[in-house]
């Protein structure tokens, strides 16, 4: 017989900042981004959800190498095949992505900018869905798309000198570029999506409420959450290990 929750998730008190940023996160998923429309962003998010039940992804996850398994994804049929491949791989097996694989996606017609924004969308829906799941909420219906046109703004200072994708160093931001570094910090993880700076803001605006702000992470003079630093790091380390993440 199934277990039952001994508490009502809806009665849990969520910190004001976390509640605010979760709400904003859902809105941002549905809104026009830099390279994808709101409707397309929601299609990316829906495809990320579908990836969890994809039989090709499951075979690949179990295989010694994901590249030994071929076939078609159990996709939703709304996005091009290369985009589905990107979303499914990011969702189910990101730890085994390679630079060569990314190049094959670019060769298939996905632009670098679209790819980076797709990472942002997959990360955002993953964070929001995982939070709901972990508290015991049913999966939320995706919101309706919001009107708007992608800005199509590529920072002039973007260079392919750090990662597999072009990034923008803090000193190479131009006036008019969104500046995530001033708010969130300048580690490599903050540069990861900087080809599409709004995606850095979209993710880390939420992430600092889920986890900690950059300056709080190593401030051991006080605790900022109901979990202590060491408790959070134990949990975070296990989740990262389960995802096979080196960084």
């Amino acid at each position: 017989m199934g277990q039952a929750l001994l508490f009502d998730p809806a009665a849990l008190e969520i910190r004001e900042g976390l509640r605010r940023e979760c709400g904003l996160g859902w809105e941002r998923l549905a809104s026009a981004g830099t390279w994808w429309t709101g409707e397309q962003r929601l299609a990316l998010a829906a495809e990320a959800r579908a990836a969890h039940a994809c039989s090709l992804c499951q075979r690949r996850k179990a295989a010694l190498s994901p590249y030994a398994e071929n076939g078609r994804h159990d996709g939703l049929g709304t996005l091009p095949a290369a985009v589905v491949e990107i979303v499914h791989r990011l969702t189910t097996d990101a730890g085994r992505l390679t630079k060569k694989w990314l190049q094959s996606m670019l060769d298939a017609g996905v632009t670098e900018e679209q790819y980076v924004e797709a990472i942002g969308v997959v990360a955002l829906i993953t964070a929001l869905d995982t939070f709901d799941l972990s508290l015991g909420f049913p999966q939320r219906a995706l919101p309706a798309p919001r009107p708007g046109t992608p800005t199509r703004h590529r920072p002039a200072g973007a260079k392919r000198d750090l990662a597999w994708v072009s990034t923008v160093a803090p000193e190479d931001l131009s006036p008019g570029d969104p500046d995530p570094y001033r708010i969130h910090g300048v580690k490599n993880i903050h540069r990861a999506l900087s080809l599409v700076p709004q995606e850095v803001l979209n993710f880390f605006d939420l992430d600092v409420e889920l986890y900690l702000k950059d300056h709080e992470i190593r401030d051991f003079t006080q605790e900022f959450r109901a979990l202590s630093h060491i408790q959070m790091e134990l949990l975070a380390g296990r989740v990262s290990a389960l995802n096979g993440c080196y960084y």
Partner: protein, 100 residues
């Protein structure tokens, strides 16, 4: 450090370590019964605010890995140097995408 990667978290001297490790494992790979069981256990042992923050931590790290793994960003030099021995001891280099 090793306890963050494997084992049940009970021997690491972290308050409620085993419960937190089980929470992470269950949310990423358990069935709904396992998840319900650990949500209840964590709520009872640590309180509702801790449950919220545990859920938030799992959400954060389940997501942020996509940024790192999707973009191919390297470890910062100071981190790479400072953790070389630790990474070797824990066998973490097998996860290093730069060697693939």
């Amino acid at each position: 450090m090793e306890a963050a990667l494997e084992g049940d978290g009970s021997q690491v001297g972290v308050p409620h370590g085993a419960l937190l490790v089980e929470f992470g494992e269950a949310m990423l790979g358990g069935d709904e019964d396992r998840r319900t069981q650990v949500r209840n256990a964590l709520y009872a042992a640590m309180g509702p605010a801790a449950l919220v923050d545990a859920a938030a931590t799992v959400a954060s790290f389940n997501a942020v890995v996509k940024l790192a793994d999707g973009s191919g960003i390297p470890l910062e030099e100071f981190k790479a140097q400072g953790t070389a021995d630790l990474r070797a001891e824990l066998g973490l280099e097998k996860l290093n995408r730069d060697t693939r």
